[in-house]
Amino acid sequence: MIPRTFSAIAALLVVALLPSAATAHKLREQGVVVTIADSALTVAPPRDWNRLDGNIGKHVETWTLDGGQLNDLTFFAGIEPGKPLVRERSKKREPLPRFSASTLLVELPELFEATYRSAKELADFRVTEVQPTRFLERDGVLFRYEYVDPDELTRKGEAHAAIISGRLYMISFDAPRLHYFDRNIEDYRRIAQSARLP
């Protein structure tokens, strides 16, 4: 136990002393079309957002308004078959569920749920609604969910997803059920509407 505590402190020390420019977040300005995670997916944010820095996956990008705990907008821009949605902490010991070539649209909420549960060690996660929708001008799925995070706050979420040329494209938004979800859900929906994939 003690060595783990010390190594955590040492790691913190190292990270704390890194030059801040290397880890800066980026402002995503209103109306400026931007590409997501170096993919062909673009969005034109109707208001300013912050892109959070942090390597959570090769094709994944997270944006926020007030911080990731309060509003978490995540783009999954072309997850390849055989890959998990986000980067695994340990591929061997804590593997995450994988998107596969045979995954059906109706199974995407399950994949999302299992990823959240495994990555965050949740027990309480409910998919409350699954609807057909148009996303990126293709047939897609819209789903809504609710979960209790280990920080003991209940969060609500909504996501749009589609499988295009065998790859998974998805945008999800979650925020605390109290106040934050209702306040920004329309901002999320406008982002999802502005998403384009040539």
Partner: protein
């Protein structure tokens, strides 16, 4: 009182040491409701009271009254009704094997523990162990560890504020948890003492004390199965919350078996009552486990639950597990498991859904659509009804 108490503990330790002719352990006489003494302990209790006030309102609690009352009853049956009056039991929805006892008498029982024990005697063994920590007041002895932890945390906070990134703030939070966890982590000797007390309670109860050893045997089996399915050489037990400082399993199982009262072996372990009480929650707890993507452990748990007979929820859970892993061979197996669930319970809607999806994915279009149609008939207001509806041709009708 305390001196007598120490004497009792010493005799327990002696019982542990002499492995050849161990006497079955008995708990020390009950000393009545304990009140904290001295500034350290009173402060600790006050802090815990505050934490309990917050925790009891938390969204992660399972508030089902029947389940809460049942878990409490098992604790009371184990440690005796006089002792259990000093505790409040909270059932927490968390998919891991764990239970905890706080110094002020607040006990938390994780739902993952309920999924992994098979009888009242087994549950009582774990709860009695936790209660042993409380009765022996082990956490007070950890105050020193907490004080030095406090220093480390203060420094970490300063450093975390120097850095502008989100990850560092996260790391700080993790560290905070680690140090708090450290504080509530008991030493190995304290664990042995709690084990001895736990089995002593069982010995004096009406439950079968021999069940205590089974809990650890099954748990070690689960971790081995998990490691095997992940291609690891051996499980990392030191990384598991409940295990970090707990005595090695072999030692533990042997000691517990030794300390169990031999004439208790014929007692009822309450497996039947336990199954009945947990039945309404079992599908939910199984789902919580399966969706964690721990194939080996989940399969082990399902198999061990099925030792007393396969049921529709068990077959369905197994189908879900295999369909989620999703290799072509898994889908064939999944379809078969869903079929077994339907054979036992023809109106199990979710089993029809799983069967339909598995069949579709293995190219069996017509029977797959038939199963999905049945799912919608059984559960027309399912959350995904419209989505599933799109997968069925409109002219097809219920056979």
């Amino acid at each position: 009182m305390i001196a007598r108490y120490r004497l009792a503990l010493a005799s327990l330790a002696l019982a542990l040491a002499s492995s050849v002719q161990a006497e079955p352990a008995l708990p020390p006489p009950y000393a009545g409701a304990y009140q904290p003494q001295g500034v350290d302990e009173q402060g600790l209790w006050r802090e815990m009271d505050e934490e309990e006030r917050r925790y009891s309102q938390s969204d992660i609690m399972i508030r089902d009254q029947a389940l809460n009352a049942y878990v409490r009853k098992v604790l009371c049956d184990t440690v005796g009704h006089d002792r259990c009056g000093a505790t409040r039991v909270y059932v927490v929805r968390a998919p891991v094997f764990n239970a905890g006892m706080y110094p002020n008498g607040m006990m938390e029982v994780f739902s993952g523990l309920l999924l992994r024990v098979r009888s009242e005697a087994e549950l009582g063994a774990v709860l009695g162990h936790e209660f042993g920590h409380f009765e022996a007041r082990h956490s007070l002895k950890g105050l020193m560890a907490r004080r030095s932890g406090g220093d480390a945390m203060a420094w970490a906070f300063v450093l975390a504020n120097l850095a502008p990134t989100y990850d560092v703030v996260r790391t700080y939070r993790d560290l905070q948890l680690t140090i708090i966890g450290n504080y509530f982590r008991f030493s190995r000797d304290q664990e042995r003492e709690a084990d001895a007390l736990g089995i002593a309670y069982l010995n004096t109860s009406t439950l079968r004390p021999q069940a205590a050893a089974q809990v650890w045997e099954r748990l070690i089996g689960e971790y081995q199965a998990d490691a095997l399915s992940k291609g690891l050489k051996k499980p990392r037990l030191d990384r598991v919350a409940f295990y970090a400082t707990h005595p090695p399993q072999v030692e533990r199982a042997t000691t517990l078996a030794l300390l169990a009262r031999p004439d208790g072996a014929t007692r009822d372990d309450g497996a039947e009552r336990y199954r009945a009480a947990l039945a309404p929650w079992l599908p939910q707890l199984l789902a919580d486990q399966i969706k964690l993507n721990d194939f080996g452990a989940s399969e082990y748990i399902i198999q061990s639950l099925a030792e007393t007979g396969w049921t529709a929820p068990l077959w369905h859970a197994r189908g879900e597990l295999y369909r989620m892993r999703g290799a072509p061979r898994d889908l064939v197996n999944a379809a078969e498991f869903y079929g077994q669930a339907i054979a036992l319970d023809p109106v199990h809607a979710e089993a029809h859904r799983g069967l339909g999806l598995s069949l579709l994915k293995t190219g069996q279009r017509a029977p797959g659509q038939q199963a999905l149609r049945r799912y919608l008939t059984l559960k027309p207001d399912a959350p995904d009804a419209r989505m599933i509806g799109l997968m069925i041709p409109q002219e097809m009708s219920e056979p």
